[in-house]
């Protein structure tokens, strides 16, 4: 095969693949401006239903409330889980001891456990705490993220220990060192971790489905699933909801691409 032909084939293959990857995003935006029938028939041009679909979602499906629920849950999960998991990652890395390493290995093993296996006891636990159908019931089990502990430990391992020693000599206590010296200098790791936590909480489905029961506490993802599984859903409105659910992720992705990829993948080292 000549070099030119080879590159021609490579470019064709990559362009078609890239098109397939991006096309559903385009169609989703188009769909949010069309009627239900037009969406189902696969209309590819923009229509005039944008405002109608949005209004329908806002008035009949309580979009404002639902969005607020999703935002609230995500904010709490992001803040609490990065504080808790970065502290743990720091503890494991900087004060390593035999006992801590054993606990760390036990943590890592739990990453193998499918969530469905924890669901029943967690549901009973939340019932015990009287947190069924509450946002805290959704938030609490999502805070301890073993993956993020692993991620932070990897990142802290590159932090120069001399700086910590110097701060100790200067008389700072360990919490001060962590919060006012180490944490501010690890911004990119925190950004990546925040994106990871945001993605997991914003997109969570199974756990909120189990915990939340009333309409007024529903999250955006739950609403979309409900909306689409009815007998005669309005697919234009469904498309609008899908766009609204995807938009924040797209914005975060394009504005913080480097951290985003890091956050989604974690740190891979050979």
């Amino acid at each position: 095969m000549s070099k030119k032909l080879r590159y021609f084939l490579i470019y064709t293959f990559l362009t078609i693949s890239a098109f397939i990857s991006v096309f559903p995003f385009f169609w989703m935006i188009v769909g949010s401006t069309n009627t239900s029938v037009e969406v189902l028939k696969g209309k590819l041009t923009f229509g005039s239903q944008f405002v109608t679909n949005f209004k329908n979602l806002w008035d009949n499906y309580n979009l404002g409330r639902v969005l607020w629920n999703s935002v609230k849950i995500s904010i709490f999960v992001v803040i609490l889980s990065i504080i808790v998991s970065s502290m743990a990652g720091y503890g494991f890395e900087m004060y390593s001891s035999k006992g801590k390493n054993r606990v760390y290995s036990a943590f890592l093993l739990t990453m193998m456990i499918p969530f469905a296996a924890l669901m029943v006891p967690l549901f009973r636990l939340m019932n015990f705490f009287n947190l069924i159908d509450s946002h805290w019931g959704v938030i609490l089990p999502m805070i301890p993220s073993v993956f993020l502990v692993f991620f932070f430990r990897q990142n802290f391992s590159q932090y120069p220990k001399e700086i910590i020693m110097a701060a100790r000599v200067d008389g700072a206590n360990e919490l001060q060192i962590f919060f006012s010296i180490v944490l501010p200098s690890m911004k990119s790791a925190y950004a990546a971790a925040a994106i990871y936590a945001f993605m997991t909480s914003w997109n969570a489905y199974l756990w909120p489905l189990v915990i939340i029961q009333s309409e007024q506490n529903k999250t955006l993802v739950l609403m979309i699933s409900n909306l689409a599984s009815g007998y005669t859903p309005d697919f234009g409105t469904v498309m609008m909801a899908v766009v609204i659910a995807t938009l924040p992720m797209l914005i975060v992705f394009f504005s913080l691409q480097r951290y985003f990829v890091q956050g989604v993948l974690g740190s891979v080292k050979q």
């Binding site: 490579i10 293959f13 990559l14 693949s17 890239a18 397939i20 990857s21 559903p24 169609w27 989703m28 769909g31 189902l40 028939k41 696969g42 590819l44 998991s85 502290m87 743990a88 503890g91 494991f92 004060y95 606990v103 193998m112 456990i113 499918p114 969530f115 469905a116 296996a117 924890l118 029943v120 006891p121 967690l122 549901f123 636990l125 609490l140 805070i143 301890p144 073993v146 962590f178 489905y205 199974l206 489905l209 979309i224 699933s225 689409a228 599984s229 009815g230 007998y231 469904v238 498309m239 899908v242 659910a245 995807t246 992720m249 992705f253 985003f260 990829v261 993948l265 891979v268 050979q270």
Partner: protein
């Protein structure tokens, strides 16, 4: 000098500080992971109906062997595991190899485009695919315009095609994600290795199988384990792909999209709830995940 058993004062203090840093996480993990997994094992030896709890020992596990729904759910994910995961990982590897070519132009655009599906919420993209694959929908229109098919394919109404749709959807969502791992790994292989192979007359195909694949083995292992666990846990997609299209309690046409996670959910919250039985199902899944991960480690290890 023999090691002294007593720690020096300052180290003892630091050791304590370490535990303080870990404490919050430890409480969380014990409460929300360790306790549930142990309690789940205990619960799996009971049959529970509401507040009624009867000890059945291994009864639930024996019942599982004769449970057609459970066996069907296992079959379904096994098919997806065997068909979808290899296709996806192979495609991801091809993309990564092509994008690693220093002479290729528009690399950034291709990489971004291919990764983009990974930002979508699982429920949202599933519903998007459900609309694209409707009977008179976009995909059928497209295939009929190109004269690839004469009649519309009943994507979401036929058990076989429903699985095909699920496989297409999963591949769309996760290929770019896995590609990024391979790209990161490829950056650690110096270009000189490929240049030397080129001089020795190795074709690109030989380079791919003799250099790229062996050197990326740890990452390929990692992605296949995460994909396997992901497949065993499938919930959002099968739950939403054909919901509303198929009537009744069937998960996809003829339960073709029933997965263990969906079944566990249904046993807990849809039919008359039996938490004990659900726990037994979940324990079997944990075991399968552990065995599969072990097998993958072994296979990767032997080929070294």
């Amino acid at each position: 000098m023999p090691k002294t058993k007593k720690k020096i004062g300052i180290e003892k203090v630091w050791n304590r500080w370490g535990w303080i840093f870990i404490s919050l996480m430890l409480i969380g993990v014990v409460m929300f992971i360790f306790y549930p997994i142990v309690y789940s094992l205990y619960l799996s030896t009971f049959s529970t109906r509401g507040f009624l709890k009867t000890f059945v020992g291994f009864g639930n596990y024996i019942k599982l062997l004769q449970d057609n729904y459970f066996i069907l759910a296992l079959k379904n994910i096994l098919i997806i595991l065997v068909v979808q995961v290899p296709i996806m990982l192979f495609l991801a590897l091809i993309f990564a190899t092509l994008l690693n070519d220093p002479k290729l132009k528009f690399k950034g655009i291709y990489r971004t485009a291919l990764f983009l599906p990974a930002v979508t919420s699982l429920v949202a993209y599933t519903i998007l695919f459900r609309m694209m694959f409707s009977n008179e929908g976009l995909v059928n229109n497209f295939l009929m315009t190109l004269r690839i098919i004469k009649e519309p394919i009943r994507w979401l109404l036929d058990p076989f095609w429903a699985k095909v749709t699920l496989i297409i959807a999963l591949t769309w969502r996760w290929t770019g994600y896995n590609m990024m791992f391979y790209l990161a790994g490829l950056q650690n292989i110096p270009m000189e290795v490929y240049e030397a192979a080129e001089i020795d007359g190795a074709t690109k195909t030989v380079q791919f199988f003799k250099i790229t694949v062996p050197l990326l083995k740890p990452i390929i292992l990692f992605t296949s384990i995460t994909s396997t666990i992901g497949t065993l846990q499938l919930f959002d997609e099968p739950m939403n792909l054909a919901a509303g299209v198929v009537t009744g309690s069937s998960v996809g046409p003829g339960n073709s999209l029933l997965t263990p996670s969906v079944y566990i959910y249904n046993v807990c919250f849809k039919y008359s709830p039996n938490f004990g039985y659900a726990s037994a199902i979940s324990y079997v899944i944990v075991m399968i995940a552990a065995v599969l991960a072990f097998v993958q480690f072994k296979v990767a290890g032997e080929r070294r």
